[in-house]
């Protein structure tokens, strides 16, 4: 295996630390560019990468043309940074001016100079006394949000922490739930209209999850939207008596925002316990897309992707706001490649389905009637019946963000090809323990020996435009650029550049020190475009991947940030 080291970080370490301790004055002098609401609204065209999926629409698309299909092969490593933590790295490097912020497993934040890689400060959330009992899919963090002069972090022990962007000092912190009793946070927060908005995980532990908006300046709670309604509220009658209290419905991936309709979109995860037999009903708003009033969290409409789910088909994939033309009609849409293996285009004005197409083998959700999905009830497990169905609970796609390119009008979708066996099992609710009621094993799709792919879907037809197959699962997010290049990383540890139109591989980085499960980001400082990616294998696949686990068990662990540019 080739592992690239442009320079040894280890040797530079003491120097970097020394520089960091001496540097604050210099850093301050350079000045941190304030992140205003106006800048966030225009994040799509900012030179930095100001939020999780770059802009409120969630496109993961940058209008930069410097790196293009012709010269991308000349990309070189400019700097790198190694972290000592060995768990998974799922964070997007966030960039404002020449400040970069990355997060590591277990909630560390590191601020670096985006051009030189010099460490400016580090913050480590103290997790002393926290057992990390109720974190299903690795002790990951997906990055920070920015607003004003602050950097926001959501933690595994359910704190939202505001840090000063120049010093890393805590401005305020607020715990929205105790640790270890079913709730945890792994997502990148969203800053919107002076609020910090986060969502809780816990669909495997009998949590009753929620999305919460805090005042960005003080941490004061402004609204809380439970994703599982109590009796007497909209959807409350879709649960058997009392079951809503442990109904799951996690909200563990950052939402998106549409200014034209003033709507906040947020995905909701699976119901608890997993075994649907135990909770007759539609189980709203699990596996759904919520369209919310951003000021109150009130529900405008919802769309349920998987009714009465028994397969852990979290509907938390990033809902991307885009316009499309389907059968001659123009739509203002929100699109998403769902865990259940279907790619959905939904009218974002009213929540009506425009179309849904399979993007991988999908049998549990069998089809659509009047714009609503129906399931194959023969594929529902019971205590005595084992089923075989597709995709596995890891999904046709897991959380890895898709990218939507307005020029090609394609969605680039990280994909896994899996099926599973699943059977009911006894379960009981106990705070701190999983609440599943099923056993399972992830296996190959019988018709596809590859575990993964990155594919392009034509937004106007739902048809596949190109497909890059991979023997190993494709567990990393995608990013597209105006230079006609799509970037995404592989489990083997190569950052790939694809031709956005054809899927041809234009460039592949040397093998990095670990596999990639994070999305890349790109930014421009002093007229030069950079591409940043965190390598650091881990996440859900090596834990829950069943038959897939063996294929990835030799991937080296460890976190490493790499920044590339043209010479």
């Amino acid at each position: 295996m080739t592992i690239i080291h442009v320079f040894s970080r280890r040797r530079l370490w003491p120097l970097a630390l020394l520089a960091a301790t001496l540097a604050p004055a210099a850093a301050l002098a350079a000045g941190y560019p304030q992140v205003t609401g106006a800048r966030l609204a225009a994040a799509a065209t900012d030179n930095g990468w100001l939020m999780f999926r770059r802009d409120y629409a969630g496109n993961s698309y940058a209008p930069f043309r410097q790196i293009d299909t012709a010269n991308v092969k000349d990309l070189r490593l400019v700097w790198s940074y190694r972290s000592h933590l060995k768990e998974g790295y799922e964070g997007t490097p966030i960039v404002n001016g020449d400040y970069m912020f990355i997060t590591t497993p277990k909630d560390h934040v590191i601020a670096l100079n985006a051009v030189t890689g010099k460490v400016l400060w580090k913050y480590e959330k103290s997790l002393a006394g926290v057992a990390l009992k109720t974190v299903c899919c690795d002790v990951v963090n997906r990055g920070v949000a920015l607003y004003g002069n602050d950097v926001y972090l959501a933690t595994l022990d359910n704190y939202v922490v505001a840090l000063n962007a120049e010093t890393g000092r805590v401005v305020w912190q607020r715990q929205i739930k105790p640790a270890d009793v079913g709730y945890a946070m792994t997502l990148a927060p969203m800053t919107l209209k002076g609020m910090v908005i986060v969502g809780e995980s816990g669909g495997e532990y009998g949590a009753r999850d929620f999305i919460v908006a805090l005042d960005a300046r003080t941490g004061r709670e402004l609204w809380r939207r439970y994703t599982i309604p109590a009796p007497g509220h909209l959807g409350g009658n879709t649960w058997p008596k009392g079951m809503y209290k442990h109904g799951g419905g996690s909200a563990w991936i950052t939402g998106t925002y549409d200014p034209s309709t003033n709507t906040l979109f947020w995905g909701v995860g699976n119901p608890g316990p997993w075994l649907a037999k135990l909770r007759p009903g539609k189980n709203l708003f699990t596996d759904s897309l919520l369209a919310l009033h951003p000021r109150s969290g009130k529900i405008k409409w919802y769309y349920q992707y998987t009714p009465h789910d028994s397969w852990d088909y979290d509907g938390v994939n990033t809902p991307v706001i885009t316009n499309l033309r389907y059968h001659g009609r123009q739509y203002r849409a929100v699109v998403e490649a769902n865990r259940n293996g279907w790619f959905y285009a939904i009218d974002r004005l009213n929540g009506k389905l425009i179309y849904a197409v399979r993007f991988t083998r999908a049998t549990s959700v069998a089809g659509f009637r009047n714009g609503k999905p129906y399931t194959d009830n023969a594929l529902r497990p019971t205590l005595t019946k084992q089923v075989f169905t597709c995709p596995s609970f890891l999904g046709g796609k897991n959380w890895w963000p898709i990218s939507v390119d307005p020029l090609t009008h394609m969605a680039y979708v990280p994909t896994i090809h899996t099926c599973m066996t699943m059977k009911g099992a006894p379960t009981f609710y106990k705070a701190g323990l999983p609440y599943l009621g099923e056993t399972f094993k992830v296996v190959h799709d019988p018709d596809d020996r590859n575990w993964g792919a990155l594919q392009a879907i034509n937004l106007d037809t739902g048809g596949q435009a190109w497909d890059h197959e991979s023997a190993l699962p494709w567990d990393a997010g995608a990013m597209s650029t105006a230079g006609g290049v799509v970037f995404s990383g592989s489990a083997r540890g190569h950052l790939y550049a694809f031709d956005a139109r054809t899927g041809r591989v234009l460039w592949r980085s040397p093998q990095l020190s670990s596999g990639i499960i994070a999305p890349p980001s790109t930014y421009i400082v002093d007229g030069k475009q950079y591409v940043a990616i965190l390598a650091g294998w881990g996440g859900g696949t090596p834990i829950w991947g069943g038959q897939m686990v063996e294929s990835v068990s030799n991937i080296p662990r460890g976190g490493h940030l790499y920044v590339f540019a043209l010479p």
Binding site: A131, L132, K133, L433, T439, K441, P542, I543
Partner: protein
Amino acid sequence: MRTRGLALALSILLAALGVQRGEAAGAPALFAAAQARAGRAVFEHKCAMCHGRRLQGLSGPALKGPLFASRKAGYTVRDIFLFLSVNMPAYAPGSLSAEQYVSVMSFLLQQNGFPAGRVALTAQAAATSTVALRYHGPAGRRGQHDRRASDCAAPGARAPSAGRTAPRRCKPLAAGAAGSARRVDAARSRPGAPERLR
């Protein structure tokens, strides 16, 4: 050095109070030593990659120590056994034999300071045991355990300090839904004496 001196003083004090080594821990013997040995092998092959060779926790949580087997978490042996024998290892839940699950449970008990005894743990016993799963100090050194590990207090006991919740009152453990298995009250059982859970 200082801590060792302190520990020594503490053990003299405890001895003076008639608290014998191990007794304060109140951990009943629930498994045979050979089971814990077999359980270690199972653990290393099937669990360590996620929970750590020293059970310290990696992508999966720690399975040893005061954070895992805490009063706050309130687990019983039954809770943990039923969970792990159905849901672990995560990549292939339920895939081990009953014997392997019982031995890995024995290993977890041993690692959390429970003593081995003469009678082997059975799947039935593990699945019905309401013994509180508490950390009783490092395996094999139960004398110096964490006193807070006991899950209830005698009537009239005060909360240890301001801000901490008072320990639950001790009461005889009620026979639960699981039926006929004999309940073992952790506080009453003699250390080292094998408890027959049926």
